[in-house]
Amino acid sequence: MAEVSMVVNGRTVTRTVEDRTLLVEFLREGLGLTGTHVGCDTSQCGACVVHVDGKAVKSCTMLAAQASGSDVTTIEGLASGGELHPVQAAFKEHHGLQCGFCTPGMIMAAVDMIARHGGGALDEATIRAELEGNICRCTGYHNIVKAIAAASETMAGMKTAAE
């Protein structure tokens, strides 16, 4: 057994877990944060993407113990003060989701993608290439790509306004 302690969505949590507990199991079963999903066993689908210390991570590929001491953000922690994150808002506006199962991982990956590219507007080819690690079976990606492009523009505008 291992004692793990981390900050999840701004709250410090400490639990004793089996050594083999995956971060996604810790989040879903240990903390009841069921917005992070498991869609495969091989780290391909990306439904489980969360942010660990600001970077997108497939939480099915990391032990909870490895994340001890980290700052973790899940889909539940993305909106602030009841206001949707621009990526969340863009997914809704552009119909970037249908069944919703891949959506949390898609959104967390998109937030990371936009940040890694410097917060500027992203083009379609970049977005499609960057989505390599996230599978959606419903939308054909068409509206996901539109949503991420729109969110990247919104966020670039916000960044410019802040400067």
């Binding site: 999903h37 689908c45 069944c99 919703g100 949390p104 054909g140």
Partner: protein
């Protein structure tokens, strides 16, 4: 109020989205109940074997293990075998040959992944550890995976009930008339066509949580179902789990289905049975590889097709022989897919005077095959549209012109294979698509691509499909074990808010939005005053669920009928209160008005009056709640044209889809945004079939593509942005004129892609999936000198 901001035709953003984008969706695996234990199944590693012994002693002694259960106990407890709900008779009149399928098989396993036992333990990890410790001794038997091989003399036999592995040998159409067409044909086109086996892969794996309440002798099942009432009916009537009133089935948020969540699988019923047997709630969540090994697969047809043309290139006959692989067992609706959902669509958009089709279905040592997005119609469309393109090439006619020459143009049109098309305008969708892609300019684009060293090709697909399945009497006469109507109940609350209880089930389709738009359109009330309730057998009246693109055409038609009744009663109340004649009352913008006066009553006041019942018309019952059942009068017939342009790199065989235009006729559209999303998804699944996806078995029956590392799911950079458009002919068969849009993309796109690739590479010898290796090999075979360079 047509054209209103929230009514029919409005691009309303989805009401269900907020919970999904904030991580507050409630899927089955998100559910937890006190004392819950976890199930993990012990599965056969062999495709075909006798089970010699099962030794669970060591497993039972492991930490946290509550029980290890096997098939003997299941049979002893009287749990029934799994069923196939659609009876098909062979052409000699004999009924289909169905082998027994037990939820846990302790004697004779017939595919890799078949469950032989189940471990129930306190945690999932403990159950997994113990499942590994269950010792099963097998005596392997020879296996057969290919349907043609299974029909051969001396092939391994799967079921005593089905000699020669033949389930049925069925036919449709007029063999003599078709033979006559071929005898007088000026040209005959012949092809062998394979439709590759696919795995549906909704992103949410199947899951079940079963709880037994001993005091009430009552079960609750949360499960990933497209049709919870049908699940309850089957679990109750055929598997003997419990009478219907003692079994509540809840399908909460469900993460996609595409057909694979219609069926009642072994695992869900084992959870119910085990929850009573162990006295603890039992949860099972499928792992992805388990899903590959147990979710019903799709397609897997081999066909020989012949098309007869007269001297003017008019089609005079079509003859098809198909062998369909149904896997190791007959899944719930498997028998209907390669028959009434397939061969009845072989006329396509064309006036073909004579058609004959023979279908043999076969057992093999593979995962059972059943309906997957399109279900039979993609197989028919692929066959016919590959034939159309090939025939046009053979007679030297432009493929678009060849199709125009043979289009059906008068309606209703009775085909030689049961279907009677009610309405359509195939020229309209063809011309819209050709114009959008600039068909005339293709030669220039091809020349330009050639200068870059790329082979550019263009391919058409003019599909038709049958949705809104279907008139209950008609499907009953064809062997269906159920009626295929839908139900609705509209409850107006005393304060005027409205709840619509529907037998349809939403697992991505956005019913909570579109169904509410219908109410907004009819009553002029805001969407925020309407709730759509579905997916719980305790809340909603019996309904048939969602599959076959039926929730609009059938499900919403039931809601229309219930709304009609509510409106009629409300108008009587309004007329009474306003002291006007009932015929003078109109409902506009959420208000009942008396024609030619300024007298009016808002909707909520009429609702309140219905419940206070202080002043109702003489003899009227209080309340404002009405139910309806809608049974369609015919199938609906969505149709359209897809045009695909590809560029092939001759060095690598890699195919890039450079343009894709879809022109669909879905009849009336409630929410264009949601309809476009359905098409995007369908197109991507169809392109996945054409380019990427294949359930690949080795000769021993091992599924080689049983994970996302091996089975190529379409990624974002595999597909283009699509260009969509619609043409509209209203469906005359239902009150809203809707046809259905959920499957069209997956039905129409594979032949468009393959026609484009074969146009580009100049050879027709190519099968799906057109992987770079397959395309390169086809190129090399066709042009050995160039490929060698």
């Amino acid at each position: 109020m047509a054209g209103s901001v929230e009514g029919i035709g409005a691009r309303v953003q989805r009401r269900e989205d907020k919970r999904f984008i904030t991580g507050k969706g409630r899927y089955t695996d998100d559910m937890a109940v006190a004392g819950m234990a976890h199930a993990v199944f012990v599965r056969s590693p062999h495709a075909h074997a006798r089970v010699v012994s099962i030794n669970a002693e060591a497993a039972r002694a492991m930490p946290g293990v509550i029980a290890v259960l096997s098939g003997q106990e299941l049979v002893a407890d009287g749990v029934g075998n799994l069923i196939c709900g659609w009876m098909i008779h062979s052409k000699d009149g004999s009924p289909m040959k169905m082998g027994a399928w037990r939820a846990l098989e302790s004697e004779h396993v017939r595919h890799v992944g078949q469950a032989v036992a189940v471990v129930i333990a306190e945690t999932r990890a403990q159950a997994r550890d113990a499942a590994d410790a269950v010792e099963v001794e097998y005596e392997p038997l020879p296996a057969v995976v290919d349907a043609l091989d299974a029909l051969k003399e001396g092939a391994p036999q799967l079921h005593e009930e089905a000699p020669g592995n033949l389930i049925y040998d069925w036919e449709i159409g007029d063999a003599a008339a078709t033979e006559a067409a071929f005898a007088s044909a000026a040209h005959v086109t012949r092809m062998e066509i394979r439709n590759n086996r696919l795995v549906p892969n909704p992103m949410e794996p199947r899951a079940a949580l079963a709880r037994y309440d001993e005091a009430d002798e009552h079960y609750t099942l949360w499960t990933t179902s497209q049709n919870p009432h049908v699940a309850r009916l089957v679990l109750s009537a055929f598997y003997n789990i419990a009478p219907e009133h003692k079994l509540r089935v809840i399908a909460p948020d469900v993460g996609g289905g595409f057909g694979s969540k219609i069926y009642i699988y072994p695992e869900e019923m084992v959870c119910l049975w085990a929850s009573k047997k162990t006295g603890v709630p039992v949860k099972w969540t499928c792992e992805r590889t388990e899903a590959f090994l147990t979710d019903a697969h799709g397609r897997d047809h081999y066909s020989e097709a012949e098309m007869a043309l007269d001297g003017e290139n008019r089609i005079t006959g079509l003859r098809v022989k198909t062998v369909a692989n149904l896997g190791a067992y007959m899944s719930l609706f498997s028998s209907s897919v390669p028959t009434y959902l397939y061969a009845t669509l072989l006329s396509g958009q064309y006036a073909i005077p004579a058609i004959h089709c023979n279908v043999k279905t076969v057992y093999t040592n593979t995962v059972p095959v059943d309906a997957y997005r399109g279900a039979g119609r993609p197989e028919a469309t692929y066959l016919l549209e590959r034939m159309m393109e090939t025939a046009a090439r053979e007679v030297g006619m432009d493929p678009a012109e060849f199709r125009r020459k043979n289009f059906i143009r008068s309606f209703p049109h009775q085909t030689p294979v049961i279907m009677c098309y009610d309405a359509g305008d195939y020229d309209a969708s063809l011309e819209a698509a050709l114009s959008a892609i600039d068909y005339a300019g293709f030669a220039g684009r091809k020349a330009e691509a050639a200068r870059r060293g790329k082979l550019r090709g263009i391919g058409l697909s003019c599909y038709i499909e049958a949705c809104g399945i279907a008139p209950s009497q008609a499907v009953g006469s064809l062997g269906a074990g159920v009626g295929l109507w839908e139900s609705a109940e509209v409850r107006v609350n005393p304060v005027g808010t409205i709840e619509v209880l529907t037998g349809s089930h939403s697992h991505g389709q956005g019913h909570e939005t579109t169904f509410a738009q219908l109410v907004a359109e009819r009553f002029g009330v805001g969407l925020d005053t309407v709730a759509i309730v579905h997916g719980d057998t305790d809340k909603v009246q019996f309904g048939m669920g969602t599959y076959g693109s039926r929730s609009g055409a059938v499900g919403m038609s039931a809601i229309v009928k219930a709304l009609d009744k509510v409106e009629a009663k409300a108008k009587r109340i309004a007329a009474h209160l306003l002291e006007a004649s009932e015929g003078d009352i109109a409902l506009e913008g959420g208000t009942f008005k008396v024609a030619g006066t300024d007298k009016e009553l808002p909707f909520f006041q009429v609702a309140l009056a219905a419940y206070t019942a202080h002043n109702l018309p003489a003899g009227m019952e209080p309340g404002l709640k009405e139910g309806a059942f809608y049974d369609p009068t015919n199938f609906t017939f969505p149709a359209g044209t897809y045009v695909c342009e590809v560029e092939v790199d001759p060095e690598t065989g890699k195919v890039e889809i450079v343009d894709f235009v879809a022109a669909d006729d879905f009849g009336t559209i409630i929410n264009p945004m949601i309809v476009e999303g359905q098409v995007h998804g369908g197109l991507t699944q169809g392109i996945g079939q054409a380019l990427l996806e294949n359930a690949s078995y080795d000769a021993d029956g091992q599924l080689l593509s049983a994970s996302y590392m091996d089975y190529t799911m379409p990624r974002a950079d595999d597909v283009p942005s699509y260009r969509l458009m619609t043409t509209v002919t209203a469906c005359p068969g239902n009150p809203l004129g809707m046809k259905g849009c959920g499957e069209a993309g997956a039905i129409g796109s594979p032949p468009a892609v393959m026609n484009a690739i074969t146009d580009a590479i100049g050879t027709n010898a190519l099968e799906m999936p057109a992987t770079p290796q397959a395309v390169w090999a086809a190129l090399k075979a066709a042009r050995p000198a160039q490929a060698a360079e």
